[in-house]
Symmetry: C2
Subunit: 340 residues, 2 copies
């Protein structure tokens, strides 16, 4: 490959800190020189990129569990790719990899400076970024280690038709719990009950969520897996069973809001119901990823665990994919196929 | 004892549901017939009665972990007494007892319908209602089982000069933690640091609490034992260390407020700091009370654990004692000596 025939190496960089909803103009699409792999390095061509609710936080100028993305800097994100040039025998040409590639078409890595994981032959990129990626791992540890559903427990999941929520709910079902999902729209709710084996689904856009939660959980909620925060967290707190566990995974209802947001009004019910509310981050469980992957692969192979992806075609759709996620347009994992 | 010479058996009954602060007129002092012990029963003369923040909740018409006290009904409360008539060989005349006596001068019990615990010879009533009563047990299980302080942890306690907070903080100190107490007033703060061995104390009435917490906890708070809720809970959430534990014991700042109160604005920090917030109630640990009492007695005897009582003289002072508690007038346990 000569320089003159080199494909364009586009990056999306952060153009501005979002105010309210993410807008396309919060990103700039820029051309960068095609990177040249040096000694021990590989050139990776991106195949799929994932978007996640957490990205909204990374775009803000606020220290959280990772540093913010700087203005003008490559947008951070998970992706898959394939090695197209290699000076690294551990990663020969044709190797499929995943990692924190960022929103770019190509990258050079020695496999460690930007850590790349080799994907098993049988793994398709969509699966690697969804149920066998950080998404599935988040559901695994959040539900099983923090939520700890037991047989016949009543488990409530918000954002249940999203990538993490859908896996979390199914893991609770596999553990023997009765699982109720909250999602926005009839299609999502139908997917939960008809394909994923949820016992019930609540369409928060058209139903009285508080009334339906109370009616569906007459004995209270034993585990609440929270992806949304806000009003639905308050409803969950209002309907706790004794010794309930709330696994705080995210709060997508909050991410596009600015200024101080109200906290959970009913938190005091944690005392009356001797319950706990606990936050977690999947990277804390890195040492235990192999055990979770083994379990997830087993459930995938047995057909007990299903997944779905909403795929936009074309690298230039990255901002729209993220916006779609915040508008709830996705069912399952929102991805972009970089080269349609 | 004949009826004509019988002492007056006064009761305090609930006169009205409190609006805002508890007022003396929320109670009625009424004369009730002197109870006569029947077969297998004892007559107990009350010696001390305790008041607790939780009483504010019991006075409201709202189901929580115990039913509300009804209007016109005897006010619920812990106390100690002495058996003055007995037809029960297990509880001979002169036996000192404790239990949920209620705000009354005399009661009749067979020892089970109103459960009475015999006090060991060496136990003074004040201790039985404080560090060796439900107060000390609340501190024990809340701090050691929910907070779980480890050596060199930084532990923050609010309401630290109150009965539960002062014991909880000392138990954390005994566990090897660095302990910071928040209390209202210089006298309380001096008691914490000069007598109870707290490493530091913050006077929330005269100091910038947020600034002082941040300065005293540069590595963050590992355990926060919350007796107050409100703004101080938010400050604690804003200063969590990684994997912190918040033990929710109470929320005295909330009890005199009406209508929906703001929840903890910074609850989302539980995710960033992979932390948990957990409510508990001491009665859930009833089976383990003996182990806690053994531990508390041992620390009392070694002098590692100290306690203090604020005692009002005279049964008629019960409402004022409760009001004093909510105004922060007490150091340690607020009691009333029924017969001064």
């Amino acid at each position: 490959m000569t320089k003159s025939s080199a494909p364009c190496n586009q990056h999306f960089v952060l153009a501005s800190r979002p105010q309210g909803e993410v807008k396309p103009t919060d990103f700039n699409l820029v051309d960068r020189p095609m990177p040249q792999p040096g000694k021990g390095e590989v050139l990776v061509e991106t195949t799929y990129l994932a978007v996640e609710p957490a990205m909204r936080g990374w775009m803000e100028d606020r220290e959280s569990y990772v540093p913010p993305v700087k203005i003008g800097e490559l947008m951070r994100g998970q992706g898959t790719g394939v090695v197209i040039e290699s000076d690294n025998p551990a990663l020969p040409v044709g190797t499929a990899v995943s990692g924190m590639i960022g929103w770019r078409r190509y990258l050079v890595s020695d496999g460690r400076n930007t850590p790349l994981q080799k994907l098993p032959e049988a793994t398709v990129p969509a699966t690697a970024l969804n149920v066998l990626g950080l998404t599935g791992l988040t559901a695994w540890f959040g539900m099983l280690d923090v939520g700890v559903p037991k047989k016949d427990d009543t488990v409530l999941v918000s954002g249940a038709a999203g990538a993490t929520g859908s896996v979390a709910g199914q893991l609770a079902r596999i553990a023997g719990a009765r699982v109720i999902g909250i999602a926005g729209g009839k299609d999502k709710c139908a997917w939960l009950t008809q394909e994923l084996g949820f016992d019930a689904a609540i369409d928060y856009k058209s139903e009285d969520t508080a009334g339906r939660v109370a009616a569906l959980c007459p004995g209270g909620i034993d585990v609440y897996f929270d992806n949304v925060g806000g009003e639905i967290l308050d409803i969950a707190l209002d309907n706790l069973a004794m010794h309930a566990r709330i696994a705080l995974c995210g709060g997508i209802s909050r991410y596009n809001e600015s200024g101080p947001l109200p906290g959970p009004v009913n938190y005091f019910n944690l005392i009356y119901k001797r319950s706990r509310m606990e936050g977690f981050l999947v990277m804390d469980y890195a040492k235990r990823f192999p055990e979770a992957i083994t379990g997830l692969v087993q459930y995938l192979e047995s057909g007990e665990l299903r997944h779905r992806e909403t795929v936009f075609d074309g690298f230039e759709q990255m901002p729209d994919a993220l916006i779609n996620l915040f508008r709830g347009g996705n069912i399952g994992k929102q991805l972009v196929a970089v080269k349609p």
